[in-house]
């Protein structure tokens, strides 16, 4: 399955995003990211991408892709 990765500044923002996506029925898996392995992000299915980013924007949660 094709996946899509969303990055966050801190683990707290990643958790907050995961909860917001969860509420909308979008499953995600948290993972470490970045060249130093010291960032956090969420893996989602690629088909959820548009809806997921819309939810995060609405919730005011900053992310990068």
């Amino acid at each position: 399955m094709e996946t899509f990765f969303i990055k966050f500044a801190t683990v707290t923002y990643a958790q907050k995003a995961q909860k917001a996506l969860d509420r909308a029925g979008i499953l995600s898996r948290m993972a470490k990211t970045g060249k130093d392995g010291c960032g956090y992000g969420l893996n989602i299915t690629a088909s959820s991408r548009t809806e997921a980013l819309r939810i995060l924007k609405k919730a005011g949660i900053q992310y990068s892709i």
Partner: protein, 399 residues
């Protein structure tokens, strides 16, 4: 009353030192802490494996519970520290450092009822020439209210006010909602020390208008020692400068701490067992009903005020105060000896100056301080009756 199973087996004791730390802790809190100590929990927010994720999940839930508890929308505004003193130092020193980027010597206002965890950081800043410190006291004659006494200290260069939500010495409070609103209008930041208030009464950060609220986890919140927090208002007007730097679990190649809360102010490993305790304590308070607990504590203080007030030679400092600790002396008696005598009789209180030297000076307790009696969430009428009886006995015994 409790039966001690330690050194002095089967001794009845009554604990009235809840202003220092609450006792007993609810079983639910203890179970939650034990679960973390013995369970599958790694370092939160550090690694990506299951145990680390378990811990990070617990910390996130704790942030959410505490944010709701203080009426906040954003859980990232809960910053965990190791106790209230750490929280106050980070809030005060960090805020002043940030303010000083545009004003080299701002005026900071505080009160005589502050604990040394507020006074000492402010004294240090004053001694270093970084702030002008103004300390206001209530009107000794009671003619002018605290709001006007505080307002008189505010000038155009006042940038910060640090106030207790309730004095640890005798429960003295200030009209925080009125003060917070006035300070917001004047552009003055407000940091509240809620060490004695958090968990003993409902606190809505938006209602009191404070920018930051600092609290320990082991007092009214019924958690264990080793945890504290800074709750940032959703409308906080400043991001304090970093006072303590170190690992934050993210952005390791950067020379500086992260820019966003909470990780910006959470250097080093979090005190997971204490955070679990705070979370569980908050859940317990919410379930048991914080209003009911507050009413019971108020009733216990009234019984103590009445009972101690009837003892010959007793002086209660500000006996009109309905909540919090009760501070008293027996004329002609050394408060420290009185507390030691009560300890021998199984009543645990605290004598001395309670790390609040200016409060004692204002209240004129004398050169040996006074005795503080602080009921808590589990203090009963029987505890109070037992304590009053022993205080009466100690007061009447030959010096």
């Amino acid at each position: 009353m409790c039966l001690s199973h330690t050194r002095e087996a089967k001794t009845i004791f009554v604990y009235l030192d809840n202003a220092a730390t609450s006792f007993p802790k609810p079983d639910y809190v203890l179970r939650s802490v034990r679960e973390v100590l013995g369970g599958a929990y790694g370092n939160p927010g550090r690694s990506g494996h299951l145990f680390s994720r378990n811990s990070a999940g617990l910390v996130f839930e704790a942030r959410e519970k505490l944010a709701a508890f203080f009426d906040l929308k954003n859980c990232e505004n809960i910053v965990f520290t190791h106790n209230a003193t750490y929280a106050l130092n980070m809030a005060i020193l960090g805020t002043v450092a940030e303010i000083r980027k545009t004003d080299s010597k701002p005026v900071v206002v505080t009160s005589v009822f502050e604990h040394n965890s507020v006074l000492r950081p402010l004294y240090a800043l004053e001694d270093e020439g970084k702030i002008t410190l103004r300390i206001f006291s209530p009107d000794p004659n009671g003619a002018e209210d605290d709001f006007h006494r505080l307002s008189a200290q505010i000038c155009p260069r006042t940038k910060l006010c640090v106030l207790t939500a309730a004095s640890n010495a005798n429960g003295h409070t200030f009209p925080l909602e009125r003060i917070g609103k006035a300070l917001r209008q004047k552009g003055v930041l407000l940091i509240v020390d809620a060490s004695q208030k958090a968990g003993t009464e409902e606190i809505s950060l938006p209602s009191i208008g404070a920018d930051m609220l600092c609290a320990p986890g082991h007092k009214g919140l019924l958690g264990v020692m080793g945890g504290g927090l800074i709750a940032f208002s959703d409308t906080c007007r400043i991001l304090p400068e970093v006072i303590l730097s170190g690992g934050a679990g993210v952005d390791s190649l950067n020379r500086k701490m992260p820019l966003v809360l909470p990780e910006r102010l959470e250097a080093g490993t979090l005190a997971l067992p204490a955070i679990a305790g705070m979370k569980a304590g908050t859940e317990y308070l919410t379930t048991a009903g914080i209003r009911e607990i507050a009413e019971r504590e108020k009733e216990m203080k009234a019984l103590l005020t009445d009972g101690i007030g009837n003892i010959r030679g007793a002086v209660i400092y500000e006996p009109h105060l309905a909540k919090g600790s009760l501070l008293f002396n027996i004329l002609g008696r050394d408060p420290n000896e009185l507390a030691a005598s009560l300890d021998r009789d199984g009543v645990m209180v605290r004598a001395g100056f309670h790390c609040a030297p200016l409060a004692h000076a204002f209240l004129k307790t004398g050169n040996q301080g006074a005795v503080r009696v602080s009921p808590g969430a589990f203090t009963t009428r029987n505890h109070v009756r037992f304590a009053i009886d022993k205080i009466h006995k100690a007061a009447c015994s030959p010096v």
